[in-house]
Amino acid sequence: MSNGGGAGGNRDRGSSNGEGGGSGGVNGGNGLDIDGLIDDPATRIIVCCGSGGVGKTTTAAAIGLRAAERGRRTVVLTIDPARRLAQSMGLTELDNTPRPVKGAAGPDGPGELHAMMLDMKRTFDEVVLAHADPERARAILENPFYQSLSAGFAGTQEYMAMEKLGQLQATGEWDLIVVDTPPSRSALDFLDAPGRLGSFLDGKIIRVLMTPAKVGGRSAMKFLNVGMGLLTGTLGKIFGAQLLTDLQTFVAAMDSMFGGFRERAEGTYQLLKAQGTAFLVVAAPERDALREAAYFVDRLAADQMPLAGLVLNRVHGTGAPQLTAERAQAAAQALEESSAENGGDHGAGNGAGNGEQHGTAEGAGSGAEREARQGAAEALAAGLLRLHAERVEVMGREQRTRDRFVSVYPDVPLVEVPALAGDVHDLDGLRLIGRQLAGGSDR
């Protein structure tokens, strides 16, 4: 729904002013102060997470733009943006380096917006190059096992997104980093990445795999109470001898880097928990999306990650909340009956006919024509009322879904963003969303 009528023009409820004209229900859900968050110089990282299809990337981009235009040197790290959203920020290719976004923030202001798309493979390569001597690095980069691992099997994206975040932060160049999270299976896999990597590296499997590569393999043998021959034999049987060799070469080559790897992963994890980081959970007012959001909120709390609040995207509103769905339906029905009597036998679903009818009736004055004209107007009004009833019903459902969430999580600050008819294509679209995120403030 285009919000052409000005910012927040067709919003009658928003978290900032509580329950405007909705169907009542649970109160609570204190307002999420986005401007307060992005203006605070202590805020250095904002992580947007949420399930797929809720507008997570758009939210991240809008927040980044708003922060830049409010004077902060900002970078937005997106994972897999929709093409047109990427274009709206001038991103045309994956080059793994922040690029300035043209037209964002004034030339005089201190703020700047840069944006980048994550290139998983390149990020992984960079890590390898940073941690291994050239010869070893080449051995790793050429290993087929490494090549398929780095090209994006489930999990790699999560590791690399966090790795990139760590890198961006380490440069010290940015006032604020806004990061979008991968649309992964459980969408919070990135939190598990460091732990998983750690347990993997501590695991015996690594030592088992490395044993044949290290001549003698005496060190590992002692710690294991299983027959090494049996194990490597089995692995060979499963993988095939050649794959096992590739895998062993890979693990052996990576060996020197593992310490560094784990340190980095651990460092990023701590960074996420640190003061200055804020998580935003993004959702839509639908059952499934809010169920996922609830899961996120719990998970973040369990990991003691700082949750700033919930962004509820695509919320419907109306400028005429005083007209209930029931009244609109009843009035529409009355008009449709009357319209049929007046010869405007076009149902409300057939507006095109009505439109043409209007065109040809222009200036006509005879009784029959006037009646037809009136019938058409009635049909049209009935259509408007049906639409309104539909809208109010949608709002009621959204409100109930939202209230259920709020009643369980009354302390989670929340902001609602109105639904748009189409996707965002340009910076103006992002600006509009940024204003709505800030509760309609133009300041």
Binding site: K237, A348, H358, L380, A381
Partner: protein, 368 residues
């Protein structure tokens, strides 16, 4: 909008059909593995479940597989979390779907747990015994299912192919069709193609042959990959991209399932008319409908509807914008020349009744 079907354009199975139980003329006779994907948030799981119900309608048996560990199937059917075990989750008759015909079909469901699947797989192929336990002990299972590239996906696709081909002792297929609720389009090709990759990594040996066997099923006319979309820009774009990638990967494209379709109430022409010099007529119609209150004064009644006019017209404008946009999206989908099925938006979300309604709709339109 009627579905469009271009003979030969889609990878619609021809000739491969087995003379199954009384078929209602499904577009996918002969397909045994239905892979359902689409952009996140389009209702993949719901439509995969509806398709499994529809395919079971005439006394058949289907298996609905979940691979993302979200327990979305259990959620849909209102059951407790599914174990790693094929269990019956619904019985279907044509009557339940609002269709003629008879026979009671069954839908089984399975949430694949990669760890269990790995152990089962290893046991099936290698008779590991003690070595299997040892592998578990050193963390191999953990390693393989979470870290090792692709193993997880190999297991998931492998399990689905195995179920689709499984035969009972009497030689008959255990399932007439298997429906897989697959990962979203963005990860789909990689997911389905993982076996090619693995076959490349392991150039010999049992993993190599297993991977190749799975690829053979996935690329055969026994498989169809359906894409779920909404009439919105991003999902349609993903569908178009997904289609191209599937074709390039040599994977059989199935149909397009357009979810949550809303009937147009008013079109652009009507809205334009309302904004022109017909604003006043609309206002009078609202008064006539009683929305101006009961005052005796016509002017008062007219004034009372004034605050409604702009919001109603704004909503109509938004609506017509959406209708126009949906029209464009339909046109884009039309260029794919695939069998297309439209499923209505069920207000208030999908409950069990809604699921059967969607299944009936799929069956009626020929998707099952």
């Amino acid at each position: 909008m009627p579905r469009t079907q271009q003979p030969g354009a889609a990878a619609a199975p021809t000739g491969a059909a087995e003379p199954g139980a009384a078929s209602g003329g499904s577009d996918w006779e002969g397909v045994r593995l239905h892979v359902v994907s689409g952009k996140g948030g389009t209702g993949k799981t719901t439509l995969a479940a509806a398709l499994a119900l529809a395919l079971a309608a005439e006394g058949r048996r289907t298996l609905l597989i979940e691979v993302e560990g979200r327990q979305g199937i259990a959620e849909l059917f209102g059951s407790t979390a599914l174990p790693y075990e094929e269990r019956k989750i619904a019985t279907v008759s044509p009557t339940k779907l609002g269709l003629p015909g008879r026979g009671t079909g069954e839908v089984f469901a399975l949430a694949i747990d990669p760890e269990q699947a790995l152990l089962e797989y290893l046991d099936m192929f290698y008779k590991l015994g003690r070595a299997g336990k040892a592998l578990q002990k050193v963390g191999f299972v953990d390693f393989a299912t979470t870290i090792a590239p692709g193993v997880r996906d190999v297991l998931l696709t492998g399990k689905a192919c195995e179920a689709a081909r499984r035969k009972a002792p009497d030689g008959r297929l255990v399932y007439d069709a298997v429906v897989m609720d697959a990962p979203p389009t963005g990860r789909l090709i990689r997911f389905l193609n993982v076996n090619s990759e693995v076959a490349g990594l392991a150039r010999f040996g049992p993993i190599h042959s297993q991977a190749q066997a799975v690829m053979r099923v996935l690329k055969s006319p026994q498989t169809a990959v359906h894409l779920v979309t909404l009439l919105e820009e991003m999902p349609v774009q993903e569908t178009v991209d997904g289609f191209t990638e599937l074709r390039e990967a040599g994977l059989p494209v199935g149909g397009v399932l357009v979810n949550m379709v809303r009937p147009p109430v008013l079109d652009a022409a009507a809205v334009a008319a309302a904004h022109g010099d017909h604003r006043e007529e609309v206002a009078l119609a609202l008064v006539e409908a009683g929305l101006g209150g009961r005052s005796r004064s016509a002017a008062t009644r007219r004034a009372a509807v004034e605050p409604l006019l702009d919001p109603l017209l704004a909503q109509a404008r938004e609506h017509s914008e959406r209708v126009t946009l949906e029209h464009e999206q339909r046109a884009d989908l039309g260029t794919l020349l695939l069998p297309t099925y439209e499923l209505p938006l069920l207000s208030g979300g999908v409950d069990l009744g809604g699921l059967y309604r969607l299944a009936g709709e799929l069956k009626r339109q020929g998707a099952a």
